[in-house]
Amino acid sequence: MKILATYNIKGGVGKTATAVNLSYLAAQDGLRVLLWDLDPQAAASFLFRIRPRVKGGGKALIRGSREIDGAIKGTDFDRLDLLPADFTYRNLDLVLGATKKPTRRIARLLAPLGADYDVIFLDCPPGISLLSESVLQAADGLLVPLIPTVLSLRTLDQLTEFIGGLDGKRPDVLAFFSMIDRRKRLHLDIASQLPAERGDVAATAIPALSLIERMSVERAPVAAFAPRSRAAQSYRQLWDEVKKREL
């Protein structure tokens, strides 16, 4: 079982769209996939039409008083399940803080699911917190969507430095450009130069397309409702790159 997290300190960079589409494509490849929507905003749950509610809330899951297995919901797609968000996830840092070895908690909770799933995606909320530290310890691969600006690159460096300072297991970082605006020279320049210069930046970039925004109307992965679109092809290309590197 591989654990892949979509993560960035910044919000609104395309983490959820990436987690939803890549988990769908992984399941289409025949893998058994679980997506855990860790963001209390519950965008991934919404996109799969699953109500963002977990009995006992995040506290029960993190403390282990409620089996993760029982909270999982099947999506409309074969082999793809979702562990929904819950509004109480906003307090996960407090709950984690009250447990022993909080940074290893997520890894411990996911370990028993190894027999049921080939890949687990974690869709993380933005920010650096105890939860993100626990996710970083659990993940084998960290998928970091970046908007091609100088500030975003600075954030990636901060993240890489932070991970370098972690004790124990560290995830393999793979950043990729997201929401590229083809009309902006700066976007195109950075997106074409950087993958050649840095080994932790993927060659695939996801363009800013209205079809990706349309996911919230269709409430489905773009690769499901518009499989031949450029948006779907971009995610397919990214998934191929991630597969080669992480699986």
Binding site: F48, R49, I50, R51, A71, I72, K73, G74, D76, R79, D81, R219
Partner: protein, 519 residues
């Protein structure tokens, strides 16, 4: 990921009942139904062993072939479904010969050494529908199945709606199943489609068992009770002939053989209640039939236990025993051909035809014993014989005495089985249990002795072939040694086993059985 919720069967030709569309309309307004492109034609074969081991254990095995890759689908007693892709399978097949996978693992445990045969075949048109909640989220899959059975008889089954819950939505799926069942009216929920396919052919599952399936009554004439027993045994013999002739698995011959042995015992122990001369006329023919089956069965036993024997070698390597295996296979081939000639002979056909005619024409005897009196008297006599012969055995007694005692024990056991329906099931089971421990010990003693003698004969035959390596004969020597140790151990256990059988408590139980019977 899906879990089976419930199946609903629509009434076939009942104009008073709603059709498929009417039933589905019952889901509104809480749920809506969305038709998908998932419509396909599937060829399905339901498989089971000849003695229905899967059905008895609550399993249903289907082999589905069509446009998609062929797959085996095993539904467990709790409705859990395991699937495994397996293309180009031919039936019958032994579970161990199926491609490796989760279905094979479960089948090996449930079916053992018996082959899987088609119990029914059908062509199904399957349409999948999504059941959506108010968020337009799929909460269950509905499979609508229109099935035309082609074997064992042609029949159109009523449409079947099967609800499978999407993970995490079981309560809603159960609700869907309830709404469908309520709308479907009296037909509602129903058993598995295999049962329906068999019923259409006038058959039912578990219609064969190697155990006696008879119901005697205490007051019926003893002669008619014996006739009922012998006819059931004759049915078993005949039921196993085709499977033996096709060599589907080893147990057809085994069941046939046991039924012949039971017939011979019945003739010996109670044949006097039949018209004069009938038992004497048929007994030699059944001896001939029994003897005909012995060599092949003995070789089957060797081959079935071969791997365990090879794995149990300490000094020799299992591979060194391979020439012995080849020899057994060769011998078995020759003996099996002889057996087939026998079963296809006019003598066998005549025996079966004449025996059935003789039993069918049998009239009740005037003044003969009642079934209960016959059972009690013969059981007591057989029990006395076991006690008398067992008590006479000392540590110095020759092996033949133990062999004789084994035969008496078998006779007592058969009598218990023949007349089981006359006694309370608990008392009967206790009596069998008391006897079984002794029988197991005597069986181990004699079988291991016979196997040692046979090993020597095999070694002699193999010596005649100059290519047989010395290592093979040495490995067989080690096998003979191991068999000798086991025989010796069984001999040492005999006194204790017999003491248990002849204990006052066991005797009281037997007296209670036969005493209650005479009330």
């Amino acid at each position: 990921m899906q879990a089976l919720s419930q199946a609903v069967v629509l009434a076939a030709d009942d104009p008073g009942q709603p059709g498929e569309a009417g039933v589905l309309a019952a889901l509104a307004p809480r749920f809506s139904v969305h038709r998908t492109a998932r419509r396909r034609t599937v060829r399905r074969a339901w498989l089971d062993t000849f003695d229905w081991r899967l059905h008895r254990a609550g399993f249903t095995l289907e082999y589905l072939t069509g446009r998609r890759p062929a797959e085996l689908v095993l539904t467990g007693p709790d409705g859990d479904v395991v699937t495994q892709q397996a293309s180009r399978l031919n039936w019958p097949a032994l579970p161990g010969d199926l491609p490796a996978g989760p279905v094979r693992d479960r089948l090996c445990a449930a079916a053992g050494i018996r082959a899987l045969l088609p119990a029914a075949r059908a062509l199904s048109t399957v349409q999948q529908l999504r059941v959506l909640n108010e968020d337009a989220k799929t909460i269950a899959w509905l499979t609508v199945d229109h099935t035309a059975v082609s074997y064992p008889a042609a029949a159109q089954l009523p449409a079947r709606l099967q609800v499978s819950a999407v993970r995490g939505y079981q309560p809603q799926a159960d609700r869907v199943a309830q709404l469908l069942a309520a709308a479907a009216g009296r037909s509602g929920a129903a058993g598995c489609p295999l049962d329906a396919a068999l019923a259409a052919a006038g058959r039912h599952a578990e219609d064969y068992s190697n155990k006696l399936a008879i119901q005697l009554t205490p007051g019926m004439p003893g002669r008619l009770a014996l006739r009922t027993i012998l006819l059931d045994l004759l049915d078993t013999i005949q039921a196993n002939v085709p499977g033996t002739l096709r060599d589907i698995d080893t147990e057809f011959l085994h069941d046939l053989r046991v039924a012949v042995r039971r017939t011979r015992s019945a003739l010996k122990l109670a044949g006097d209640v039949l018209p004069a001369g009938l038992a004497a006329r048929f007994a030699p023919e059944f001896k001939w039939l029994g003897d005909l089956t012995t060599p092949t069965r003995d070789l089957d036993v060797y081959l079935l236990g071969y791997q365990d024997m090879a794995d149990g070698l300490v000094s020799a390597k299992p591979a060194e025993l391979a020439p012995f295996h080849d020899h057994l296979v060769g011998q078995r081939g020759a003996e099996y051909r002889r057996l087939v000639r026998g079963l296809r002979s006019a003598r066998f056909t005549r025996l079966i035809t004449d025996w059935r005619a003789a039993l069918t024409d049998l009239a009740p005897a005037r003044g003969g014993p009642r079934a209960i009196d016959l059972a009690t008297a013969r059981l007591r006599r057989a029990h006395r014989k076991v006690l008398r012969q067992g008590q006479a055995i000392t540590p110095d007694s020759p092996a033949e005495r133990l062999h004789d005692l084994r035969k008496r024990c078998k006779e007592l056991r058969y009598l218990l089985e023949f007349f089981a329906s006359l006694f309370g099931p608990q008392a009967h089971q206790r009596a069998v249990k008391d006897l079984k421990g002794l029988q197991d010990c005597l069986g181990e003693f004699q079988d291991r002795q016979v196997q040692q003698q046979e090993l020597r004969e095999f070694a002699g035959q193999m010596m005649a072939d100059r290519d047989t390596p010395a290592t093979a004969l040495l490995a067989m020597g080690e096998l003979a040694g191991q068999l000798g140790v086991r025989q010796h151990r069984a001999r040492a256990e005999f006194a204790g086993r017999f003491r248990d059988f002849a204990s006052p408590a066991s005797e009281r139980r037997f007296d209670a059985l036969t005493g209650r019977a005479s009330l």
